[in-house]
């Protein structure tokens, strides 16, 4: 019996939810970035599962583009984190509140 697609979608949903929880509750900015990558991975899994379910290649192509965009975003985001750590001397997002009302 081949594994039903809904199992993969359930796993993707669980991972996405865990990514959201990590994003909301963690204080270190690098860990928040990693939660974003976790969410992107969960979405990739959903794409590949749907590509298999409908027997098409478009889902896999989209996974490529998601990976590429994630790479570009990680590069720029981590550069921003480096600049931030230089100026604020801390990696805690609560400290980045100069514009707070």
């Amino acid at each position: 019996m081949s594994i039903p697609v809904s199992y993969y979608l359930a796993l993707s949903g669980i991972l996405f939810g865990l990514g959201v929880v990590a994003f909301v509750f963690k204080r270190n900015i690098i860990t928040i970035f990693m939660a974003i990558e976790l969410m992107l991975n969960a979405v990739n899994l959903a794409f590949v599962a749907f590509a298999r379910a409908h027997n098409q290649l478009d889902g896999l192509i989209f996974v490529f583009f998601v990976i590429v965009v994630a790479a570009a975003e990680a590069a720029v985001g981590l550069a921003i984190v480096l600049a931030l750590a230089h100026t604020r001397q801390s990696l805690n997002v609560d400290r980045v509140n100069l514009l707070k009302f």
């Binding site: 019996m1 081949s2 594994i3 039903p4 697609v5 809904s6 199992y7 993969y8 979608l9 359930a10 796993l11 949903g13 669980i14 991972l15 939810g17 865990l18 990514g19 929880v21 990590a22 509750f25 963690k26 204080r27 270190n28 690098i30 860990t31 970035f33 990693m34 939660a35 990558e37 976790l38 991975n41 990739n44 899994l45 590949v48 599962a49 590509a51 298999r52 379910a53 409908h54 027997n55 290649l57 896999l60 192509i61 996974v63 490529f64 583009f65 990976i67 590429v68 994630a70 790479a71 570009a72 990680a74 590069a75 720029v76 981590l78 550069a79 984190v81 480096l82 600049a83 230089h86």
Partner: protein
């Protein structure tokens, strides 16, 4: 016939465990390593889903380059232990149960919808997506997004260079 099922559950449990570890552990480097575990188990799941090229690209690019970048930045910034902040009471006592209810509802509708039951009823497995077919689609139908993402990567490289440079 149950071998794919065993592999699926092993990788699924590994992935969820990695994600939970990402939330729980205190050092960022341990979070990075558990995220690598998640990515590798997802790559095995892509292999199960008949997409070997995507699995290899996931390990090569995501686990082998992006996460190395994360580990580098954590090492460079000497990111120590996270500060412990208490979760607000609303989040703990109302948010988590509500989230769980939402998850149950999504699971219900997932398992009773069309794609799930169609494949579960024994539709024959499609052949694995070959590299040739993927690359043909990538360079013919999806040429514009391909070129656009190349320019995006170029912009990202330049942006990262400019942002990370110390002011002289």
């Amino acid at each position: 016939m149950i071998a794919p099922l065993i592999v699926f559950f092993a990788c699924a449990i590994l992935a969820v465990l990695g994600a939970i570890l990402l939330i729980i552990v205190r050092e960022p480097i341990h979070s990075a390593l558990s995220l690598v575990v998640v990515m590798v188990s997802l790559a095995i799941l892509y292999l199960l889903l008949g997409a070997p090229f995507v699995a290899a690209v996931q390990i090569l690019v995501y686990a082998g380059a992006i996460m190395v970048l994360f580990v580098f930045v954590i090492m460079l910034l000497n990111a120590g232990e996270e500060e412990r902040t208490d979760w607000s009471k609303i989040a703990k006592w109302i948010g988590l149960p509500l989230g769980f209810v939402l998850l149950l509802e999504i699971a219900h509708w997932l398992f009773h919808s069309e794609p799930g039951t169609a494949v579960a009823n024994g539709v024959a497995a499609p052949p694995p997506a070959s590299t040739f077919a993927l690359s043909t689609a990538l360079f013919r139908q999806y040429l514009l997004p391909f070129e656009a993402t190349s320019i995006l990567i170029l912009i990202a490289i330049l942006g990262a260079l400019v942002l990370a440079r110390k002011d002289q």
